[in-house]
């Protein structure tokens, strides 16, 4: 990882932590913020797809599909931004989906690691259980906007911490000629 990439990871991580903490502090406004993040992430995905088409996928067999995807995502993002209120259920489903998927993958990995008698299986199982617990919490707190924001922000702060930690990881490979 270059110095700029490390710096970018640290700055992004700190911004994510800051946003997470502020949102937990003001959960009602935080909920609006969560929906805004979802809309902007659609717009960003659309723009990224368009850039990806121009830089990479136009050389690929069938690359036009990426161009179409970019236009649709951008359009969808702009459309959702114009809506004043996104139903809470979509936010919950989004969180639920993410955590159930991550939890299942972790548990499957734990089973595989245990089959190979590797020591990692306990960590994987713990991550899996934690993710599924978060998914259950989402369902349990379906009526509480504040709790929903807390769950979302916890995930975001965790990602930010991983990002910052990875910025300090040693990544170079030693070469002996």
């Amino acid at each position: 990882m270059s110095k700029i990439q490390r710096l970018k990871n640290i700055v992004l991580g700190l911004i994510m932590i800051l946003i997470g903490v502020v949102m937990i502090w003001f959960p009602e406004e935080g909920y609006v913020f969560v929906t805004l993040i979802l809309s902007f992430s659609l717009i960003l995905s659309g723009l990224r797809s368009l850039a990806y088409y121009l830089l990479m996928a136009r050389h690929m067999v069938g690359g036009k599909s990426i161009l179409v995807r970019g236009i649709i995502l951008l359009d969808l993002g702009l459309f959702t931004l114009t809506l004043t209120d996104i139903p809470k259920i979509y936010v919950i489903l989004y969180l639920l989906g993410c955590h159930i998927f991550a939890g299942m993958v972790d548990i499957m990995r734990a089973v595989e690691a245990k089959r190979y008698k590797a020591r990692l299986w306990r960590y994987n199982l713990a991550y899996g259980i934690a993710n599924l617990s978060v998914a259950v919490s989402c369902l349990a707190c379906i009526r509480s906007t504040g709790m929903l924001v807390v769950i979302y922000c916890t995930g975001m702060i965790y990602s930010a911490c991983v990002r910052i930690v990875s910025a300090f990881r040693r990544t170079a490979i030693v070469y002996i000629s």
Partner: protein, 386 residues
């Protein structure tokens, strides 16, 4: 390629190249171990995780595809399973990002395959096994890159199997990894289409399923990078070339040949068994273990024991610290680290960061992944011995 080629056929090639039965077994064991030496395996025997030569299916599912994760994946797959053909090739009108991925496309007879064999020279049978695995895979995995990339590794509906009776049949791809391929009906498992450039589904030949791994398969398709030009892949011919080239490489490693060069095949050594080998390669079935094993036993007159992942684990685990490099797995692990370090360095020097940073120890001292400190100590010890 699968166990039939990496283990049993490698044993046969080693015997033909002049290795003894015991040496051939060690060499083919190391060649096959490349497909098993995952982070999970290394964690079990408490070995340096940086020596991983493969990733299990669930490790891949769980692998992070951020910058560091992608570099780790590329180091593993480009170093051992998809040796890049030309790290300095140019494609007009492309972005640098596209070109860096394009340069990782694997093909036989590259400079890197020569470097790989040269690196293994004089380093023991474990290093030889790793080099032979990488060499053989350049034939099976040609046209794909050892890094996740939609624009390079994707395939589409235009995918036909060329059958022995001269007809062709559209291949049906399903995505359930637990379902075995149905050769008779032409139904194969491949990875799911993912529009994300760096999705793990777009690693290597995942989108073409196991077809590159079957020695009998002949097929045509449109590679994502090929500008709508059809490629015909003739595995029986490619695998035969691989077998004959492996013998050349092994003879060089044994000291019989003075050098190993590109495009060298020991046709003469294989000639007495050409018909038999071609018949094994052409048989339509999921694996050819039994036939290769019988052929190997006929060649050496000895019993070829089956591959057993547990075989050397206790020896490694019970070895005292500082003596592990004298065990079978210890030698394999350091040979794997040397190969990974060499390929990463070549990719880094070509101006691409896809496999990460490479730091020359003699110029800049020790910097980087901690596991490599053990490797540095090992190399220093080896140099002292010399």
């Amino acid at each position: 390629m699968q166990k039939d080629f990496h283990y049993y056929a490698t044993y046969c090639a080693a015997i033909i190249a002049g290795y003894s039965h015991e040496e051939s077994l060690d060499l083919c064991y190391s060649a096959q171990l490349v497909d098993w030496c995952s982070k999970t395996f290394l964690s079990k025997i408490k070995a340096p995780l940086a020596a991983a030569t493969t990733q299990l299916q669930l490790e891949l599912m769980d692998a992070r595809t951020d910058l560091i994760g992608l570099q780790n994946i590329t180091r593993i797959w480009a170093s051992f399973h998809f040796l890049p053909y030309d790290l300095y090739t140019k494609k007009k009108g492309c972005s640098k990002r596209y070109q860096n991925k394009y340069r990782l496309i694997c093909n036989p007879n590259s400079d890197l395959v020569v470097d790989t064999v040269n690196l293994a020279k004089g380093k023991g049978l474990q290093a030889a096994g790793i080099a032979i695995h990488a060499l053989a895979d350049t034939w099976a995995h040609r046209y794909f890159a050892g890094t996740p990339s939609l624009v390079i590794n994707n395939t589409n509906y235009h995918f036909y199997e060329l059958l022995p009776d001269g007809t062709q049949r559209a291949v049906t791809f399903l995505h359930n990894p637990t379902e075995p391929d149905d050769i008779e009906k032409g139904i194969f498992t491949n990875s799911l289409y993912q529009g994300n450039e760096n999705s793990i589904m777009n690693l290597g030949h995942g989108r073409a399923g196991h077809l590159p791994d079957y020695s009998f398969a002949r097929y045509k398709y449109l590679p994502a990078w090929g500008g709508y030009e059809e490629i015909i892949k003739d595995n029986p011919s490619d695998y035969y070339h691989a077998f004959c080239q492996m013998i050349c490489a092994m003879k060089y490693l044994r000291g019989v040949n003075s050098s190993f060069e590109k495009d060298q095949y020991d046709w003469a050594a294989v000639e007495p068994w050409k018909t038999r080998i071609q018949s094994i390669l052409e048989q339509r079935r999921l694996n050819a273990d039994e036939d290769w094993k019988a052929f190997g036993e006929q060649l050496s007159g000895e019993t070829v024991t089956d591959f057993d992942l547990e075989r050397y684990q206790e020896e490694y685990r019970s070895a005292a610290p500082g003596t592990k490099e004298n065990t079978f797995l210890g030698r394999f692990i350091f040979a794997a680290m040397a190969q990974k370090s060499m390929v990463t360095n070549k990719i880094f020097k070509s101006g691409s960061l896809l496999a990460g940073f490479s730091v020359d120890f003699w110029e800049k001292g020790f910097r980087g992944i901690k596991d490599y400190r053990q490797f540095v100590e090992y190399v220093k010890k080896e140099m002292d011995h010399e």
